[in-house]
Amino acid sequence: MTDLSDNTVQAGRARSRLAMAWDSDLAYSFRRSPVAMISGLVTALLILSAVFAPLIAPHDPFNPGTLNLMNGFTPPSEANMFTGDSFWLGTDDQGRDVFSTILFGLRISLFVGFAAVALAMVIGITLGLVAGYIGGLTETVIMRVADVQLTFPSILVAMLIFGIAKGITPPEYRDQMAIWVLILAIGLSDWVQFARVVRGATLVEKSKEYVAAARLIGRSPVAIMLRHILPNVLSPVLVIATISLALAIIAEATLSFLGVGAPPTEPSLGTLIRIGQGFLFSGEWWILFFPAMTLLALALSVNLLGDWLRDALNPRLR
């Protein structure tokens, strides 16, 4: 065994790992694809600005005590006629700075997106592995449930779960719970893709010799599934996860747009679009436009990244 306390060895290994990553096929394909690079840059920029929102945002839109209603409907970069304040992207109907609200809304959208995909991944991978590896009745039951769920539009499933969850949470916790319920609703409506792909890949891997060898030396089924099969089925999962992230962000926006998602006092991008939509005819376009553009940029770049990843990981397209 290698001596892990040896720093030089570790540093050397880290460097070589970085170099290896840089030289890998994936990185090479990334460097060769301008679309991937641009969408990667946009995604990174959006994620970073969401993470550092409290540092970047000029106002705290979630603290109602700092709002001044008289600042409402200030056009972008113009002075408000009552207060004289000016805001880069204007303000909404409550006098909230649109730029700050987008940054904080982006946080909610991304958080819900990542968490929902993580949930869907955990459920989907577990069920997919179990179905593929064990087979038989277990497989039939899991995959039929998945088929049934696929016949409903996922947004409908999400709304159903949201409705039930909202119904059973006590009213005093409803607003705090809204985000978690949203994650649960989107995550539970989205696991089927993962389960199907993992099951398919597991079926292929299961018959390979290394699995038979692991079985021969007496490893437990759980260990075989997690230590041997899982690492080999992860690359398609990664692709689906990326595309699912874009879909989850859009699902969150749709739910919030329909008024069943994030509360208006802590708006996500979808809530902002819902608020802005009411002022579409009256000329206050910026309330809708900027959040919508942010959502577009985010969903599009994540989606393009997913597309690139799918192509890059597909040996037939190389």
Partner: protein
């Protein structure tokens, strides 16, 4: 061959032209933000519900669109010459219900008694009524526990049902809406009114056609042959429907779209101050609140906290920004046309955050507290936006408000069931008299009064004064009591008035109407241009 084709074409053209004129000229497609909560006319005393009911059912006395009293199903009414405690109503003869039953005094007796029953939401209008009896087929006597000069004003929203129909369909009891009850009368309607219910899918579409046997044909314009009612909650969708000609009439043009609707071709904007005040109510009665963070005490029970909240609300900012000038800031829970209202009462306190913070400090809530605000999102003009603005204003004096906005079908039961500690409500006064306000909103919640008093406020002295209003025939003394009541109410601040609404109706140029200050459209008065 050509001949035949030409004839066929002409015939086709003629039929198309016919159907077009029949379908588009006399059908009025009506939209508003809110749907009627029920079809039971005595279950919910609430604007949109009563408005729909007025097309299908009728009261004894009708308030016309200008606000004047007109004979409805009663042709005349006067106090009895022998007993000052009795009102005598002559009932209109020859009227039939939509399903064919004849209308007579028995139906009036049944309907008024139904409206007096405990589940009825209209019983506050009939407090003091001890007996309703038929004196002949077309005469009804209403007995009160004392002379009640204002009784006819209270009857304008109390609809008449057929006693036989109700018995046959086992729907004699009033639907208990707040308890979630469903009844035959809540889903079916059989009135005497100008329009007959044809089909209804709640929240989607309600179709009514002209009643061919209506007694008022010839008396009223009755230009509309069919009404298609669609609730459209989303303001942008609603205004788009009007602008594209998908609907002919919307009752609530969003304030941000007034200019656009006014400037649109073929569409007119009709504006009038509305008989409706918007305010917040607080649970002042309970020992402790459920949805707050203060243990063992109720911050709203302290009048200093209520006063602090009153002066922390910037009514002018709400008027200018949220309402875009389309409201009149208010200092009292009474719209101006109501008897008892004075400009002095309506003076609202100056916005003063510093003074409000000092009051909070004095009351021992210098660090504030948190509480939930329940707000409707489909009932009043910009209701949710007003609530959100108030959340911001209260945050400045340390009150951390958690806003819960719900459709009004879920919001209103919270108030009547005492399930909210802090809520928004709007109040219009169809009787144009302050008694209606005190009976519903200030009186202790009892069997026949206080059903919309969600504040748990209970003041025996006030209750006694309120009860005396019903039978006080000395109008000067009565007005004195009303003034004293308002003074007590101002002192107690159990409600935080925000403003009086301004009505903005958007209507296709094909139709003309006057704007009803009660926002109670009565389509029989609509005229085709």
């Amino acid at each position: 061959m050509t001949m035949r084709l030409a004839t066929f074409g002409a015939a086709l053209l003629a039929t198309t032209a016919l159907t077009v004129s029949a379908a588009s000229a006399e059908t009025l497609r009506w939209a508003r933000a809110s749907e009627a909560l029920t079809l039971d006319p005595h279950s919910q005393n609430e604007g949109p519900t009563t408005t729909l009911m007025h097309q299908i059912y009728e009261p004894l006395i009708v308030r016309n669109m200008e606000g004047g009293l007109e004979p409805g199903l009663a042709t005349s009414w006067e106090p009895s010459s022998s007993d000052p405690n009795v009102w005598v109503f002559q009932i209109r003869e020859g009227v039939t219900f939509h399903e064919g039953q004849a209308f007579d005094a028995e139906d009036v007796v049944f309907s008024l008694n139904r409206a007096l029953s405990e589940a009825s939401d209209f019983k506050e209008l009939l407090t003091g009524v001890t007996e309703v009896r038929a004196a002949g087929d077309f005469t009804v006597e209403v007995v009160t526990d004392g002379p009640n000069p204002l009784l006819p004003n209270n009857l304008t929203n109390i609809m008449m049902l057929d006693a036989g129909w109700a018995a046959e369909n086992n729907t004699e009891e009033v639907q208990d809406y707040a308890a979630g009850e469903d009844t035959y009368a809540a889903r079916n309607a059989n009135g005497t009114g100008p329009f007959v219910l044809q089909s209804r899918t709640a929240d989607v579409e309600t179709v009514m056609t002209q009643n061919p046997d209506y007694w008022g044909i010839g008396e009223f314009p009755m230009d509309i042959t069919e009404i298609i009612f669609t609730p459209i909650q989303n303001p942008a969708t609603r205004v788009a429907a009007l602008l594209t000609g998908e609907v002919d009439f919307i009752q609530d043009v969003p304030v941000q779209d007034l200019e656009r609707v006014d400037g649109a071709d073929g569409i007119g904007l009709a504006t009038a101050p509305q008989n409706r005040v918007i305010f917040f109510g607080m649970n002042v009665g309970d020992e402790d609140l459920t949805l707050d963070n203060v243990e063992g005490a109720n911050p709203f029970a302290d009048v200093r906290v209520r006063r602090a909240m009153d002066i922390a609300i910037n009514r002018e900012a709400i008027q200018q920004v949220v309402m875009r000038g389309q409201s009149a800031p208010a200092g009292v829970i009474s719209p101006p046309p109501v008897n008892g209202w004075t400009p002095e009462l309506d003076e609202y306190p100056a916005y003063d955050v510093e003074a409000a913070r000092a009051l909070m400090e004095e009351a021992g809530y210098g660090d504030g507290f948190s509480v939930q605000l329940d707000c409707p999102n489909d009932r009043y003009i910009n209701d949710e936006a007003i609530c959100q603005a108030v959340v911001g204003m209260l945050a400045q004096i340390g009150i951390d408000v958690n806003l819960s906005a719900l459709p009004r079908a879920q919001h209103f039961p919270l108030i009547s069931n005492f399930e909210t500690d802090f809520y928004m409500l709007g109040w219009g006064v169809p009787t144009y008299d302050a008694e209606y306000i005190f009976n519903f909103l200030y009186h202790t919640q009892t069997e026949n009064r206080g059903s919309w008093n969600g504040t748990r406020y209970s003041n025996p002295e006030m209750d006694e004064m309120i009860a005396s209003l019903t039978s006080n025939t000395d109008l000067d003394a009565r007005n004195g009591t009303i003034a004293a009541l308002f003074e007590m109410a101002e002192e107690e601040v159990i409600y935080l008035p925000v403003h009086n609404q301004v009505l903005n109706w958007g209507i296709s140029d094909a139709w003309s109407t006057v704007v009803d200050a009660d926002d109670q459209v009565k389509f029989k008065y609509f005229e085709l241009n």
